[in-house]
Symmetry: C2
Subunit: 463 residues, 2 copies
Amino acid sequence: MTAQQVPGIETLCAPDAMAPYLVDWRGQQRGRGRMVVLPRSVEEVVRVVKWCGERGIPIVPQGGNTSLVGGSVPDASGQAVLLSLRKLDAIVKVDPQSNLVVAQAGAILQDIQQAAAQANRLFPLSLAAEGSCTIGGNLSTNAGGTAVLQYGNARELCLGLEVVLPDGTVLSDLAGLRKDNTGINLRHLFIGAEGTLGIITAAALRLYALPRAKVTSFAAVKDPQAAIALLSLATEMVGSGLTAFELMSRSCVESVHRRFAELPAVFSPVPAYQVLVEISDQDDEAHANRRLLGLMECALERGIIDNATVATSTAQSRRFWAVRERVAEAQNPNLKHDITLPVERIARFMAQAEQQILAACPGAQIIVVGHVGDGNLHYNVEPPPGTESAALPALKTEIEQLVYALVAAHGGSISAEHGIGRQKVKALQQYKAAPMLQTMRSIKSVLDPAGLMNPGVVFESAT
Amino acid sequence: MTAQQVPGIETLCAPDAMAPYLVDWRGQQRGRGRMVVLPRSVEEVVRVVKWCGERGIPIVPQGGNTSLVGGSVPDASGQAVLLSLRKLDAIVKVDPQSNLVVAQAGAILQDIQQAAAQANRLFPLSLAAEGSCTIGGNLSTNAGGTAVLQYGNARELCLGLEVVLPDGTVLSDLAGLRKDNTGINLRHLFIGAEGTLGIITAAALRLYALPRAKVTSFAAVKDPQAAIALLSLATEMVGSGLTAFELMSRSCVESVHRRFAELPAVFSPVPAYQVLVEISDQDDEAHANRRLLGLMECALERGIIDNATVATSTAQSRRFWAVRERVAEAQNPNLKHDITLPVERIARFMAQAEQQILAACPGAQIIVVGHVGDGNLHYNVEPPPGTESAALPALKTEIEQLVYALVAAHGGSISAEHGIGRQKVKALQQYKAAPMLQTMRSIKSVLDPAGLMNPGVVFESAT
């Protein structure tokens, strides 16, 4: 094979230069690639796509390469062109009157947040990787995060896309209209499709009012059912002012306090569960505080919660959030599950899952952190110390099957916000209803008949 | 042709019995049909669809038959089966903990609103036809209405669908999860597709907190630009508490006062434009009133508005809303346009459109009522008294072309919330980008290869 390149497009071919693009950030998924291309305009993306299409070469689109499921690195075949969107990183327009920002796919999420704030607006999408993930990747994976409860997923924040189809056709809709009922909506096909139907090159995104005050508290609860009762009460008392509701198990909180000495325990002893509750307010901080205190007092009176601490300063509020945000760094359990349950099923699911896991693996530690307000649990399991590493793969499979089967039994989802990538392709085949899978394949076959877009991701590889 | 029927399905064949299903509610669109079928379960819908599919018989799905663009009545050929969803009208589940309601397609919108309210929750979709339109129709047309500013269109309120595809396959996803990233999202294909890809038979819908207080005011402004400035100020001061922002031109307000004596003018003389502003609040009415008064005082101080009246009672608030809601009854202009503009373009569009229309048709009256918060204008034109009815069709075409061309020039949409139906099929071909139309056709061809689903709606008829 001769080392062909797409004429006029910045290309990396040297192994050292390509290396960072060919492995996921956790180092778990390593692939190979023919070359890395770095187009600087939608026209250059079109040229790459056509060049690859004419030669039957697969394309793996990549943004910030922060996928947790191996969705943005190629397979081991070395056939694919890695198409990085990082050089398409302009924030094209910030329009506070229309509550709109238009950005290219490679724009970093945090840069978009900041551009919005400078225009006195909020772009609410917020997640751990926001300093390096790109909006194109956020949309391709329909990213979630901590603000979904009030503002929705990346999908709900998107008002339009520019997409390059596998045949080089450009679909462009960046006007950012809130109402546009002119036929079949195509945008939603590409949001969450993980680059398997086309390449998102730009997006029109929805802005919100910047809250005038945000206040935070931790509430101690004895079990998940109590957390759900607090959620219901908060919904009724605070409505759309409730902007975060994050559940953490004792094991999870203790791991953060052990690892980060600057984050002392909020409650002593650490309760079975604690919930981070954030209220945003358009009046002022005093009003926000009264609302949050009122909520917690009412919850205490009704016996829903056992204790509560409201942050009395911005610094303390930041420390509360840090407890939540540092979970990922504080522990790295072997068995992770990103799942959604119907909210009213969460307590039952957690009780049943714990029982089954401890039966299958006595001594295992269950570590739960969840965006409970939207039903999303990061349900992690650490086998007991001393578990032999040779036993891990089988144990992992057993517990994953157990968790997913229980999720399915309760009408939940085996991927809440991380997507399918390469890692969950088999699980998707097992747990998604056959008519849904068949319809997905039909759509894929008509938009990407040659199967060149991100092969092996979401859909099973043809080979 | 023998009078065949689908075995075991309630069927109407008598002309009198069929008549109400074959004409739109404004009496503008009359069609003919082979028969009307009234299935009572999703299984019965599947049987109808398969029966028709085997015989190559087109199907026109119909909910409450309140389309404003002729989307729910058959063409004149008499070939189609009219499939009414009205007998599938169960509200299956109301779950306040998960903020979820599950309803069959034929459930009346108002019944769903009431079921939600009984569970202390809000189903926010609200529009003039809510007493007779069905949720299946609302979703098939992605209905808008007066609450889109805060809560979104029907699309944003939908968390899952049950759909019968043209081959009889049932796609079912009624768990109502807020986060579910398991492959290509199929639901959004059917929302807004106007029954051209399949038949929505049930939906999972999102509920919100019931506001504790709602307060309403009218503000007088001198021009649309001032209204947009008030919208920006309200966004910043009230945030998500701003739940309605409706602009009405003088001509529009005067027509209501003339027609309904019980609704006297709020301002005298009637200003060039007035805006209905509604604030929802989770504290109480006193707090809501303070916020609304604070907003109006600030707007007066800054010279954005010329006058404001805040309703001091629920009865007065209802009268304010009645002024807005009775616009459709108060006047029935000959030339109607349901359009969206980027919010920051509204003022320029309105100035240019008025100038061009008055040049083309001196003496024409322009009547504007708009959900300005989401860019949606109902931009209506009444030719001067004495215009000969023979001249109307040509005038209508001229003004429509003029309005749509200007909408397109400003990056707007020729159908904001009413959809395409039969009436805007030609306009869609003219104003939607060719790659979008081509991709829509590709999707249609793979899901409905025989073209039996609601032919002549959205897509051009094959014949």
